[in-house]
C-alpha cells in the first residue's frame, strides 16, 4: 500500500465531507511527517516503526470503503464469511452459525441506510433462504424496509439497531472468528460484529446442543444484565393462608384425629389382648400390620394431596381482600372433592360450543365453577350464558334427569340444543370496539372485559350492568385477567405495556413497561406477587407487582406468545405461541424445562390442573391436548443437570368437530371446561 495513495484518499474523503479544518491539519501533519521521514532517512522504516505509525492495512481498507462507496462489498464480505462458517470444524460450526443471522440483518440494514435499495434487495434475496426456517416472521417484516426513513420507523429495525444481540460461544470459536476476520481483511464484517453483536465468551468446550438452534431474540438488554436479572431471587411458592393451605391443615387435623382414634382402639385392643393372654401373639402381630398398613395409606393419601403443596409458603406483598365466608366454605368443599388426575386418570372434558357466531367470536371465558360462559364479539358486544340455569330448564322440561348429568359439582346439560336461544343469554353492551378478552372474578360476581376501544370495563353479573370503565391504555387492550384472589387485575395492550389495576381506582397502580412489541397476554402468579406477560417480541417476562420491576426474561419462542399458564405450586409456567409450540419454564432458574411440540396451529389457551399434574392446551388446529407434567416436575431438577432436557409426554389428543379451542379451564374439582366457536370449513380460494 503506497502511502501517497492513502493520503490522497484521506484528502479526498476530507474534502468530500467538507472538513476544511481537518484537511488543513492533515496537510500540515503530512508536511511535518515528510520532513521527519526525510530527516531520519530510509533506515527508519526498518528500524522499529516507532516513528512511522505503520498503517494497518485493515484501517486503510476501511478508509477505502468510504471512498469506493459501493454496495457490492457487503455481499462479498457476507458470502465469504458464510462459506467460511459452513466449512469450519463441525464442533464449532453450530456456534459460528449463530453469528450469520445478525450479520446478515445488519449488512442489509447498512445497505439500506447508505441508500442502496437495489443492492439491499438483491442481497436480501440472495441470502434469505438461510434464515427462512428460523426467522421467517422477522424476514417478512424486514423485507419491506427499503429506505433510510423506513429504518427509523420499523420497530424491528430500530430494535436491531439499538440493541446488541447476545451470542454465547466458547473461547476457541471466538478466536477462530477473530482470526478469520483479521486475516481476510474483512473490515466490514468485523465492524458489524463489533458494533452490533455482544459475544459472550465462555471457557471450555462448545455447548452440547447440536440439534437445538437457539432462537435469537432481542431482549433490549445486554446479556450480563439479563443473566443478573434472571438470577434475582424469586419467591415462587404458593400463598400463605390460601384456601388450599387451610384445606391442608384441616386434612392434617382430621388425619391426626383419626390416628388418635386408631390409637385408642388399639389401646383397647391391647388391653383386651393382655386380658386374653399370650395366646393371641400371632393375631396381635397381624393387627399391628393392619395398623401400619392403614396409617401408611393414610399418610400416602396425605402426601399425595400434599405433593402439589410442598411448595414454600410466601407472604403476599399486596394487601389481600377478604373472602366472604360462604364462598370460602364452598371453595373448601370443592377442593375437598377434587378429582385426582394423573397420567392414568384423565379428566372429563365438557365442551361449550358457540354456534352461529358468524365468525365474530373473539374470545370466550368460563367461570371457575363452569356455570357461566362469556363470549366477546367483534361487534363490541359481550354475552354471558348461565349454563346452570339452561341446564335446569332443560332437565325440568324433560321427563327425567337423564340429560342433566351432575358431575364434579357442575350441572351439565348434555348435548341438548337450546330451543329458546333468545332469552338464553345476557347481553352486555358498552364497548366501542371488538372485545378481545373477558375474565370472571374468582367469586363470579364480576366480569372484566377489554376491547379495541382502549378501555377495560367492569361488569356486575348481579345487576347485569357496567360499573366502571378503566381508561389508561392508549391502544387496543389485548388481554385482561383477575388476580387469583380477585380485587386486582392486570391488562396487556398494543401500547407495549401491561398495567396493574385495582377495582376501586380509575388509574393503574403500576405500569409494566419493557417489552419491545405488543403485550399479547397476561397471567398472574398464584401468589399474586408476580405477573407474567407474553409479547409479540417473542419473549415472556415476569414482573414484580410491588416494585414493577422486571424479574425474568424468558427467551426461546419463535413467534408471538399467545397464551400463558401457571402451575398451582407456582414453580412452573407454560407459554404457547402462534407456531403451536408450548414451552415449559422453571421460574426459579429462568430456564426452559422442555418444549411441548405437537400442535399445528396457534395455541390459544393453556391450563394446569388443580394439583398441577396435567397441562391442557387448546389450539386453532381443533384439538385439546393433555400433557403429563408430573414426570418433569419430579425429574427436572436432577435430569436437567445430568442429561440435559427431557421431553414431556403427550397423554391424549382430543379432536373437536371443526371447533378451534378458545378457552380452557379446570374447575376446582378438576373437571376440564373448554369453549370454542363451531366453524365449519369453507374454502376461500376457488379456481375460476
Amino acid at each position: 500500500m503506497e502511502e501517497e495513495k492513502i493520503e490522497q484518499a484521506v484528502l479526498a474523503y476530507l474534502k468530500k465531507k467538507g472538513y476544511r479544518q481537518a484537511e488543513l491539519a492533515f496537510q500540515d501533519e503530512q508536511q511535518t511527517h515528510r520532513s521527519l521521514n526525510s530527516s531520519s532517512g530510509g533506515g527508519a522504516d526498518g528500524g522499529g516503526g516507532t516513528t512511522t505509525p505503520s498503517m494497518d492495512p485493515a484501517v486503510a481498507n476501511s478508509i477505502f470503503l468510504y471512498a469506493r462507496a459501493d454496495g457490492t462489498l457487503y455481499k462479498e464480505g457476507y458470502s465469504k464469511l458464510r462459506s467460511w462458517v459452513h466449512s469450519s470444524l463441525d464442533l464449532y460450526k453450530n456456534e459460528l452459525l449463530r453469528i450469520l443471522y445478525p450479520v446478515f440483518v445488519h449488512c442489509f440494514m447498512d445497505l439500506v441506510a447508505k441508500d442502496f435499495p437495489q443492492e439491499a434487495r438483491l442481497f436480501f434475496q440472495t441470502f434469505r433462504e438461510d434464515h427462512d426456517t428460523l426467522h421467517l416472521r422477522d424476514l417478512h417484516k424486514l423485507e419491506g424496509v427499503l429506505s433510510p426513513q423506513h429504518l427509523q420507523e420499523s420497530e424491528l429495525a430500530v430494535a436491531f439497531r439499538e440493541n446488541k444481540i447476545n451470542i454465547r460461544m466458547c473461547q476457541y470459536s471466538f478466536e477462530l472468528l477473530l482470526q478469520y476476520l483479521h486475516s481476510t481483511d474483512s473490515m466490514l464484517m468485523l465492524g458489524i460484529v463489533n458494533e452490533h453483536i455482544n459475544i459472550q465468551v465462555f471457557p471450555g468446550q462448545p455447548s452440547p446442543l447440536p440439534e437445538e438452534e437457539e432462537a435469537i431474540t432481542l431482549t433490549g438488554k445486554p446479556q450480563e444484565a439479563l443473566d443478573s436479572m434472571n438470577q434475582k431471587e424469586l419467591r415462587w411458592g404458593t400463598l400463605e393462608d390460601s384456601l388450599e393451605d387451610k384445606l391442608e391443615k384441616e386434612l392434617a387435623a382430621e388425619a391426626e384425629k383419626a390416628e388418635a382414634e386408631g390409637k385408642e382402639t388399639e389401646a383397647d385392643d391391647m388391653k383386651k389382648r393382655t386380658a386374653d393372654g399370650g395366646k393371641a401373639g400371632a393375631s396381635s402381630k397381624k393387627s399391628k400390620k393392619d395398623k401400619t398398613g392403614t396409617s401408611a395409606t393414610g399418610k400416602g393419601a396425605k402426601s399425595d394431596s400434599a405433593a402439589a403443596i410442598n411448595a414454600p409458603r410466601v407472604k403476599p406483598d399486596l394487601p389481600m381482600p377478604s373472602l366472604a365466608e360462604e364462598t370460602e366454605r364452598q371453595v373448601l368443599e370443592d377442593l375437598r372433592n377434587r378429582a385426582r388426575l394423573g397420567s392414568n386418570a384423565l379428566p372429563s372434558v365438557s365442551f361449550y360450543s358457540f354456534v352461529n357466531t358468524h365468525n365474530s367470536l373473539n374470545c370466550a371465558s368460563i367461570s371457575a365453577d363452569g356455570a357461566l360462559v362469556a363470549g366477546g364479539f367483534s361487534d363490541s358486544s359481550l354475552k354471558v350464558w348461565d349454563m346452570a340455569k339452561i341446564g335446569a330448564q332443560i332437565t325440568s322440561g324433560d321427563q327425567g334427569t337423564a340429560n342433566g348429568v351432575v358431575s364434579n359439582g357442575v350441572t351439565e346439560p348434555k348435548g341438548v340444543a337450546l330451543e329458546n336461544s333468545k332469552s338464553s343469554y345476557t347481553l352486555l353492551q358498552g364497548h366501542a370496539g371488538p372485545v378481545y378478552a373477558a375474565n370472571f372474578s374468582p367469586d363470579n360476581d364480576y366480569l372484566l372485559s377489554c376491547s379495541g376501544d382502549c378501555t377495560v370495563r367492569l361488569w356486575s353479573l348481579r345487576l347485569n350492568a357496567n360499573l366502571v370503565c378503566y381508561k389508561g391504555h392508549n391502544y387496543p387492550v389485548w388481554d385482561v385477567q383477575y388476580s387469583p384472589v380477585g380485587h386486582y387485575f392486570a391488562s396487556a395492550s398494543h401500547d407495549r405495556t401491561a398495567r396493574v389495576w385495582c377495582m376501586e381506582r380509575l388509574h393503574p397502580l403500576r405500569i409494566l413497561a419493557g417489552h419491545l412489541s405488543d403485550v399479547d397476554c397476561v397471567q398472574w402468579h398464584v401468589n399474586c406477587n408476580y405477573i407474567a406477560t407474553g409479547s409479540s417480541d417473542k419473549t415472556v417476562r415476569l414482573w414484580d407487582v410491588q416494585t414493577g420491576e422486571c424479574m425474568r426474561i424468558f427467551t426461546g419462542h419463535r413467534g408471538m406468545v399467545l397464551s400463558l399458564a401457571m402451575s398451582s405450586d407456582g414453580r412452573y409456567m407454560a407459554s404457547g405461541d402462534e407456531d403451536g409450540a408450548i414451552l415449559m419454564w422453571d421460574l426459579g432458574s429462568g430456564r426452559c424445562v422442555t418444549p411441548l411440540l405437537g400442535h399445528t396451529g396457534c395455541v390459544w389457551t393453556l391450563a394446569f390442573s388443580g394439583e398441577g399434574s396435567l397441562l391442557a392446551s387448546g389450539s386453532a388446529d381443533n384439538t385439546v391436548r393433555l400433557w403429563d407434567v408430573n414426570a418433569s416436575g419430579k425429574t427436572s431438577r436432577t435430569e436437567e443437570k445430568s442429561s440435559g432436557k427431557r421431553r414431556l409426554r403427550l397423554l391424549k389428543t382430543l379432536p373437536t368437530k371443526s371447533t378451534p379451542v378458545y378457552a380452557l379451564k379446570f374447575s376446582r374439582r378438576n373437571l376440564l371446561l373448554a369453549a370454542g366457536a363451531f366453524s365449519p370449513l369453507k374454502t376461500s380460494v376457488t379456481t375460476g
Binding site: Q149, N359, N362, C363, S421, D520, V624
Partner: protein, 544 residues
C-alpha cells in the same frame, strides 16, 4: 427492486386524478408503498390473532388502519372471508369477484332470513379421557385420518420423532373387497345401467338371488340402488332393473339384508309413489308400480315381525300419498297398489273408510265431459281399477272366510245387476238392516265353529288370495275398460245418494266382526257389477 412496480404507482396516481406523474417519482414512491403495505399487514395479522382467527378478514385490515390513524376503507365489510378466484392463465394472480348489482333487484327481493342468534351448546368432549361417540364429537373417520398425515409431517419435521412412541395412531378399519367381488359388482352394475341384454340381465338377477358370498357387496348394492334411483327417475328400464335387483337381493337366502333395509326402503317407495316414472307416458310405469307394490308387501311380510315399526311406517307413507288430494293420480295409484298388496286387513283399515269420499273426488276425472285430457282420464280409470281390485280382493277373502253370509247379499245385489234403472228401488230395499243383521249374526255364530280352522288357514289363504287378486285384477281391468263409459255414468248417479249407512259400514270395515253383508252391499253400491268377479265362483253359483 420493489415488488410494487412503477406502473402500479402510475395507475394509482391516475385513479386519484394525477395524470402526469414523473417516472422517477413513481420509482421513489414504489418502495414506500410496499413498506406501508407490509406494515399494515403486520398489524392486521396481530388483530387477526387476537380475534382468534386464522383467516385474515377486511375487518382486520380496517382495525390495522385505525391503529395507524388512517381512515379505514369503507365498502368492503363482509362477515365471511373474501373468496378469491384465480385469474385464468395466471398461476399466481387472484381477484375478488365483484359483480354489478341492480338496485331494483335488491329492493324487490324479499328480505333475507334473519341470521340465527348465537347460542352455546354443551357436550362431553371426553369422559375420563375417553371420547364418547356422540354427534357433537368429531366422527371416527375424521379422528383417524389427520394423525396419519400429521405423522408423515412429523417424520419430515425432525423434532417430533422422539414423540412418536407416545402418540397412538389408530388406523381406520378398512372394508376390504376382493378383486373378484369388485369385478362382479362392476359387471352387474354395468349390465343394469346399460339395460340392453335382457337375457343376460335375467341370468344376472338369478345369480344375485342365489349366489352365496355376496354379502360384502350388499352395502355397495344398496348405495348403488339409492344413487341410481335418484339419478334415473326418467329411465324406466333402469328403474325396473333396479327393482328386480332389490328383489333378487331380498330373495338371496345367504344375504343378511336387514341392516340395509332402511337404506333400501326409500328407493323402493320412490318407485312406488313417485309422480313420474320413466320419461315418456307410453312406458308402462303401471307395471313397475305393481311390481314394486308386491316387493313392498314381500319386505313387510318377511321383516315385519323383526322390525315392528317397518310396516306402520310404510303404510303411513303410502296413506299419506293416498289421502293427499294434491298428489298426482299416478301417485295415488301407487299408494293404493302398495296398500292393497299389504293385505286385505290394511285395505279394510285404511282404504275402505276413505273410499267413498275418494270416489267422490275421482268422479269428475273419470267422465269425458269433465276431464278432456285423455291421458288424465286414463290415469283416473287406472286408479279406479286399483281401488276396485283392492276392495274386491278384500271382499273375496272375507267371503272365503265367512261363506255363510252370502245369501243375504245376493238378494240385495241382484236388482242392481239386472238393470241400473232399478237402482232406486234397490236403494229403498236397502233400508232393512234389522232383518239382515239377525241373519248375519246367525251366520257368524255358525261360522264361529269353523273360525279356528279359518284362522289356521289364514296365512295360506292370504297368499292364495293375493294370487287370485292378481288374476282378478287383470280380469277386472279388461272388464272395466269395456264398461268405462257405462260405469262413469253410473258413478255420477251413485255419488249423489250417499246414504249414511253405507259410509258407516265402510268406516267400520276394519272390524273383524263387521256386518259383512252391508259392507259388500255398499261396495257394490259404489262399484256396481264390476264387484261380481270377486265373489268366489261357488258362492256365485249359489246365489245366481
Amino acid at each position: 427492486m420493489s415488488i410494487v412496480p412503477k406502473d402500479t404507482i402510475h395507475v394509482i396516481a391516475q385513479s386519484i386524478g394525477i395524470s402526469n406523474l414523473q417516472d422517477d417519482v413513481a420509482a421513489a414512491l414504489a418502495p414506500d408503498v410496499e413498506y406501508r403495505m407490509r406494515e399494515i399487514m403486520q398489524e392486521a395479522i396481530k388483530c387477526m390473532r387476537h380475534s382468534k382467527r386464522s383467516i385474515l378478514t377486511t375487518d382486520d385490515v380496517d382495525s390495522a388502519l385505525r391503529l395507524r390513524n388512517v381512515e379505514p376503507l369503507y365498502g368492503f365489510a363482509s362477515g365471511d372471508p373474501l373468496r378469491f378466484r384465480r385469474a385464468l392463465g395466471h398461476s399466481d394472480l387472484f381477484y375478488v369477484e365483484d359483480r354489478d348489482l341492480e338496485f331494483k333487484e335488491i329492493i324487490d327481493a324479499p328480505l333475507p332470513r334473519a341470521p340465527l342468534d348465537t347460542s352455546v351448546v354443551a357436550h362431553w368432549l371426553a369422559v375420563e379421557g375417553v371420547q364418547p361417540a356422540i354427534p357433537e364429537n368429531a366422527p371416527i373417520e375424521n379422528l383417524a385420518v389427520p394423525p396419519e398425515t400429521k405423522r408423515g409431517d412429523a417424520h419430515g419435521g425432525g423434532p417430533r420423532k422422539e414423540d412418536d412412541g407416545a402418540i397412538e395412531v389408530k388406523i381406520p378399519v378398512k372394508h376390504v373387497l376382493s378383486r373378484e367381488l369388485q369385478l362382479y359388482f362392476e359387471k352387474i352394475t354395468e349390465l343394469i345401467v346399460a339395460g340392453s341384454d335382457t337375457l343376460l340381465l335375467r341370468d344376472a338377477f338369478l345369480s344375485v338371488a342365489t349366489d352365496s358370498g355376496l354379502h360384502p357387496l350388499v352395502p355397495y348394492f344398496t348405495q348403488f340402488v339409492a344413487d341410481e334411483v335418484t339419478r334415473g327417475l326418467e329411465d324406466f328400464p333402469l328403474l325396473f332393473s333396479l327393482m328386480r335387483l332389490v328383489q333378487s337381493l331380498l330373495l338371496n337366502p345367504h344375504i343378511h339384508i336387514e341392516p340395509y333395509l332402511h337404506q333400501l326402503m326409500p328407493s323402493v317407495i320412490t318407485c312406488l309413489v313417485a309422480k313420474r316414472l320413466g320419461g315418456r307416458a307410453v312406458e308402462n310405469h303401471w307395471e313397475l308400480r305393481d311390481f314394486t307394490a308386491s316387493l313392498v308387501a314381500f319386505i313387510c311380510k318377511r321383516f315385519g315381525h323383526t322390525y315392528q315399526n317397518l310396516q306402520p311406517r310404510v303404510t303411513r307413507t303410502l296413506l299419506h300419498a293416498f289421502l293427499d288430494p294434491k298428489r298426482a293420480l299416478t301417485q295415488h295409484y301407487g299408494a293404493i297398489r302398495g296398500l292393497s298388496a299389504l293385505g286385505s286387513r290394511v285395505v279394510r283399515l285404511l282404504v275402505l273408510p276413505n273410499l267413498e269420499l275418494y270416489l267422490h273426488l275421482l268422479a269428475p276425472e273419470l267422465s269425458p265431459e269433465t276431464q278432456q285430457n285423455e291421458m288424465k282420464r286414463y290415469e283416473a280409470w287406472r286408479v279406479y281399477g286399483a281401488l276396485l281390485s283392492a276392495s274386491g280382493a278384500c271382499v273375496y277373502e272375507k267371503m272365503k272366510a265367512h261363506p255363510y253370509s252370502l245369501p243375504t247379499v245376493s238378494t240385495s245385489t241382484r236388482p242392481k245387476i239386472i238393470s241400473p234403472s232399478r237402482k232406486r228401488s234397490a236403494g229403498t230395499e236397502l233400508g232393512q238392516p234389522s232383518q239382515k243383521k239377525s241373519h248375519v249374526e246367525g251366520g257368524l255364530l255358525a261360522s264361529d265353529a269353523t273360525g279356528s280352522v279359518t284362522e289356521g288357514r289364514n296365512f295360506d289363504g292370504g297368499e292364495g288370495s293375493s294370487q287370485a287378486e292378481d288374476v282378478d285384477g287383470s280380469k277386472s281391468r279388461g272388464v272395466e275398460s269395456g264398461s268405462m263409459d257405462d260405469g262413469g255414468r253410473r258413478l255420477g248417479v251413485e255419488a249423489n245418494r250417499s246414504n249414511e249407512r253405507k259410509s258407516f259400514s265402510l268406516a267400520e270395515a276394519w272390524k273383524e266382526d263387521v256386518d259383512f253383508g252391508s259392507l259388500l252391499l255398499s261396495l257394490v253400491d259404489l262399484f256396481g257389477d264390476s264387484m261380481l268377479p270377486f265373489i268366489p265362483t261357488e258362492e256365485m253359483s249359489l246365489f245366481l
